[in-house]
């Protein structure tokens, strides 16, 4: 699958109005979304190291080079995304219940990490040199088993890097998904080596962008990215939206390198 996108930075003061305007434009109520996003990075498996350089210039070229490229090329950052609700933040984890003997109210809400659903979201680096003024990249999305994703991910050769939360409102405008979002960081400095079992209260989460600005992302997924007609149509839809919103916000193609998912 492919994805074509446009982005815009939305200053904090414009956020509320933009929400209203998008609600008017799409004729729907915003759908509030909270997502845990775990960043994983592929690592080179021992034994699959690319050939050392320098030994012989002859061997370096040709097959070895191609192999090297392929292996390097397949190293990506990838995301594991899990939908959560506001209640999940600051809730006790499920396993606590058995541990302490205090009489907790049975109806107290608990965050159940063991049943947290996840999906693996892969994005390639945006295509270079396209003449079209949209960001276009290959993508795939697939479900993962619920609960702890670490075993699965490390089996596939991925290391856990970091995690953050994305909060925002989602609109659907025909084929276009409009997501007005911001990144929330966990309040600790140290980086854990694995996903959290428990989440702090939402109010303790800190926006990455301290001024409170949001990012507007408009995207269309395309089944077959090699179909030029469909890709063109998708771009045109996005340009149509850009035109409709042009007096409010400037939707643009993102810097290709800022969306570079290749692991170096």
């Amino acid at each position: 699958m492919h994805e074509v996108l446009l982005f815009a930075s939305v200053p904090a003061h414009q956020h509320y109005e933009l929400l209203q305007q998008l609600a008017g434009l799409t004729a729907m109520q915003p759908r509030h979304c909270l997502e845990r996003r775990l960043i994983f990075k592929a690592y080179r498996k021992p034994g699959l190291m690319a050939g050392r350089t320098g030994a012989s210039q002859d061997i370096q070229s040709g097959d070895l080079q191609r192999l090297n490229k392929m292996l390097n090329g397949s190293m990506y950052y990838t995301q594991v995304v899990g939908p959560v609700t506001e209640k999940d933040f600051g809730a006790a984890i499920d396993s606590d219940m058995h541990m302490d003997g205090t009489d907790e109210k049975p109806e107290a809400y608990r965050y159940d990490y063991e049943h947290q659903p996840w999906r693996l979201e892969f994005r390639d680096i945006p295509e270079a040199g396209t003449r079209s003024a949209v960001t276009s990249r290959q993508m795939s999305s697939s479900s993962l088993p619920s609960g702890d994703v670490m075993p699965v991910m490390s089996a596939w050769g991925y290391n856990f890097v970091n995690e953050h939360v994305v909060e925002g409102d989602l609109f659907v405008h025909n084929e276009i998904v409009i997501f007005l979002q911001r990144v929330l960081q966990y309040p600790t400095d140290q980086e854990p080596s694995q996903p959290r079992q428990q989440m702090p209260p939402l109010k303790d989460m800190m926006p990455l962008e301290k001024s409170g600005s949001y990012v507007l992302q408009a995207s269309i997924t395309v089944q077959d990215g090699s179909n030029q007609e469909t890709m063109k149509l998708a771009s045109q839809h996005l340009f149509g939206l850009r035109e409709q919103l042009k007096s409010v916000i400037r939707l643009e193609q993102a810097d290709r390198l800022s969306l570079d998912t290749r692991a170096k």
Binding site: V161, S213, V248
Partner: protein, 255 residues
């Protein structure tokens, strides 16, 4: 018989200047009429007409103020004038007889204004001078003079009592404009006497104004149309550039 004094020449010079202005403004009206099809914008026509009218007034004032001089001044050609070859032009310049059309105009004025003129009694005036009188009553010259002296001042005063523009009525202003529910998001300025044109939002509003002068025909915004121009007192620019945020979302690092 004497040569005009320096002072008198100065007066003549003033008249020349006023006449020159009148000619120019007439000339400009003609050229603007010729250069537009069918007509120049009504506002421009109106302002030209008003300029011409002012020029006429200024010439006419000069004529009546310097009446003594002009009635006693006699012009005649000097020997240098090529009278033999250019007699018609000279005649044209020195002509005192009125143009037939003007003559006609004067005649009609005379008819209307001659003693017991036909129309003076039916002036539909709210004036106190006539309200108690019967309809056939004819105003004497003195009464007319009195009326005319009174009327312009009164009309002017009446006009001054009105506010001929602006966003609020007198009534609303007395009530306090902050209590007026306009239904608009933007603030209306209480622009007493400011120029109407300057507050137009849309460039094409000008044409619409023709029908209803001074009444703004503006639709209430709403629906899917956005009134974007909402100003924020303290807009804050994001600190982290968009690219860096996307980078963070992709790799979990800002760098």
């Amino acid at each position: 018989m004497s040569k005009p004094t320096q002072e008198q020449i100065k007066i003549l010079e003033q008249s020349r200047q006023r006449l020159v202005q009148l000619t120019r403004s007439l000339g400009s009206l003609i050229s603007s009429l010729h250069s537009s099809d069918p007509l120049p914008p009504w506002s421009s026509l109106q302002s030209q007409a008003s300029i011409i009218s002012n020029n006429l007034l200024s010439v006419s004032e000069q004529l009546s103020e310097q009446r003594d001089l002009f009635t006693s001044l006699v012009a005649y050609p000097s020997p240098e004038y090529p009278g033999r070859t250019q007699a018609p032009t000279l005649e044209q310049l020195l002509r005192t007889k009125l143009d037939p059309r003007v003559e006609d105009w004067v005649a009609r004025g005379r008819a209307a204004g001659s003693d017991n003129g036909p129309s003076q009694s039916t002036i539909p005036s709210p004036s106190r001078l006539v309200e108690a009188e019967s309809a056939d009553h004819k105003l004497s010259e003195a009464e007319l003079a009195q009326l005319w002296e009174w009327a312009p001042l009164e009309a002017n005063q009446e006009a001054r009592r009105r506010n001929w523009g602006g966003n609020y009525t007198l009534e609303e202003r007395e009530m306090g404009i902050e209590n007026v529910v306009t239904g608009l998001k933007r603030q209306l300025e209480d622009d007493l006497g400011s120029d109407e044109e300057s507050e137009e939002e849309d460039e094409d509003d000008g044409k619409e104004e023709m029908d209803i002068v001074g009444v703004h025909r503006k639709s209430v915004g709403g629906g899917l149309e956005f009134d974007i121009a909402v100003r924020h007192p303290h807009p804050v620019k994001p600190f982290v550039p968009l690219d860096d945020i996307l980078k963070y979302m992709t790799t979990g690092r800002l760098q």
